[in-house]
Amino acid sequence: MRYALAWIDRAIGLLVRAAFTLASIAMLAIMAIGTIDVIGTYLLHSPVPAGLELQEVLLVLVIFLGLGHAQSRREHIEVDIITSMMGVGIRRWFELFALFAGALAFGLIGWRAWDLALASWKVGETANAVFSFPIYPSKFLVAAGASVAALECMRQIGRWFASKSIQAPDQPEAE
């Protein structure tokens, strides 16, 4: 049982990192496409085909594939005025509540995004641009990103019940 839990813990950790790596690549791609588009448009009179639409799709990937990682490092912004005045015991219960709220919110967003992706896939949705690339993969990835964030909340809930530190073990601290 304990091994199974440890394995799940590590598997979710891997998923979070995989999603985050994809998000980082998407971020880099936005910069590259945007830069080439400006140079192409204003120096060479030839913009990147569907450059704007590609950047839009990449942005949504950065946002959603990065959610789980931010959750794993507890980076989502909290207002700590009241909790910081409370005792350790009650604070721990609030922490659990916050994790459930997070799992629920990310889970719901992921579920609805999944339906959105299915609808998009059914009509074979393509970008409304000169170069009409398919849109539905990005919608599936958004669903995946939100779901990974929900899983990460659940992993943290598991650690809460095991009375362990919620912080992911293998993450380097921010400088």
Partner: protein, 323 residues
């Protein structure tokens, strides 16, 4: 007459201050009046209840009751319904664009099937006046297009600019003003009344007029849920909407077409806008592929080639762009 009590919410994709929006407000007021106050329509302007891309889904899932958004935003769900809304150089004025679109929707079986599948029903459409380049320097001959940065979006317009030797540039609506002011763009691409509404005459002074035009397009309908329309609302509600909708459409076309000449006259008199004597309209037609042909090809990939050809033939006969 007995109307059921309905409190309807309409999500609109543009601000309240343009002509078509005022027509929609009139429609809402009129419906309320004629239903004896039983049917109320509250309009939420400027994408506040949903971004343009969301509105089709929100109406067809029953999340909101009504929406105003162009069908061209949904080329995958509404490839046929949105055709006249996405293609330049098809209609010489707003009157033609609107008349043809409404009769295509009413009479084309495939469009009705498409709408049923998408679970949306358009009560009445709006129109826009003919689009023309509106530039910071005059375009007098076909050569003047060379290297010009033209406002562009979607699938077909970039192709048109490229064929004319210009560069299509995607600029956000909010940034059009600054883009023209600083030379990021050389030309906007709008109807005269929209240039006036967006104040672009302050930073661009050269307009085309008369036969120098790249085509009017019909624009948004008021969408309702297909199932609600056909299976839930009683006949008298549908009749009321259809009647007031027809009157609204007539108002829309009157007000919109009148606004075109008024806007240009005002911009010339009060704002120092100059009308450019462009002489090469024939060459524009020679050099550009008719977007309708591109659209037919695209529809062939979706096995909609036959109906696409039928539709294009219909509007070429009913409302020829070139006389």
């Amino acid at each position: 007459e007995d109307y059921p009590k309905l409190n309807l919410k309409l999500a609109h994709f543009v601000p309240a201050n343009i002509i078509g929006s005022q027509v929609d407000q009139w429609f809402a007021d009129e419906v309320e009046k004629r239903s004896g106050g039983n049917i109320k329509i509250k309009i939420f302007w400027s994408e506040s209840l949903g971004k343009s891309g969301e509105l089709l889904e929100l109406v067809r899932s029953g999340a909101i009751d009504m929406a105003a958004v162009s069908p061209a935003y949904f080329p995958n769900e509404l490839p046929l319904t949105g055709a006249t809304n996405s293609l330049m150089m098809q209609f010489k004025d707003g009157r033609d664009a609107l008349r043809v679109t409404q009769s295509l929707v009413d009479e084309t079986e495939e469009i009705q099937e498409e709408l049923k599948r998408a679970n949306v029903y358009p009560i009445y459409f709006h129109t826009l006046n003919t689009y023309r380049p509106f530039c910071t320097s005059p375009i007098e001959s076909i050569e003047d297009f060379q290297g010009k940065k033209m406002r562009s979006y979607g699938e077909y317009i970039p192709v048109m600019w490229q064929e004319l030797g210009a560069t299509g540039v995607n600029v956000l609506t909010n940034e059009l003003y600054e883009a023209l002011q600083r030379g990021t763009l050389d030309c906007a691409f709008y109807a005269h009344d929209l240039i006036k509404a967006t104040k672009l005459y302050e930073v661009a002074k050269f307009a085309w007029d008369g036969d120098n035009a790249l085509g009017a397009i019909p624009t948004w309908p008021i969408w309702v849920n297909w199932n609600t329309w056909n299976n839930e609302w009683p006949a008298n509600v549908r009749e009321l909407f259809t009647t007031v909708g027809k009157e609204a459409m007539a108002r829309d076309v009157e007000l919109t077409t009148a606004a075109e000449a008024d806007a240009l006259e005002w911009m010339v008199k009060e704002q120092g806008v100059q009308i450019v004597d462009f002489k090469d309209m024939d060459k524009v037609h020679e050099r550009t592929t008719d977007p309708a042909e591109l659209w037919i090809k695209k529809m062939e990939e979706r096995n909609l080639g036959d109906v696409a050809k039928k539709m294009v033939a219909y509007w070429r006969k009913e409302a020829p762009f070139k006389d």
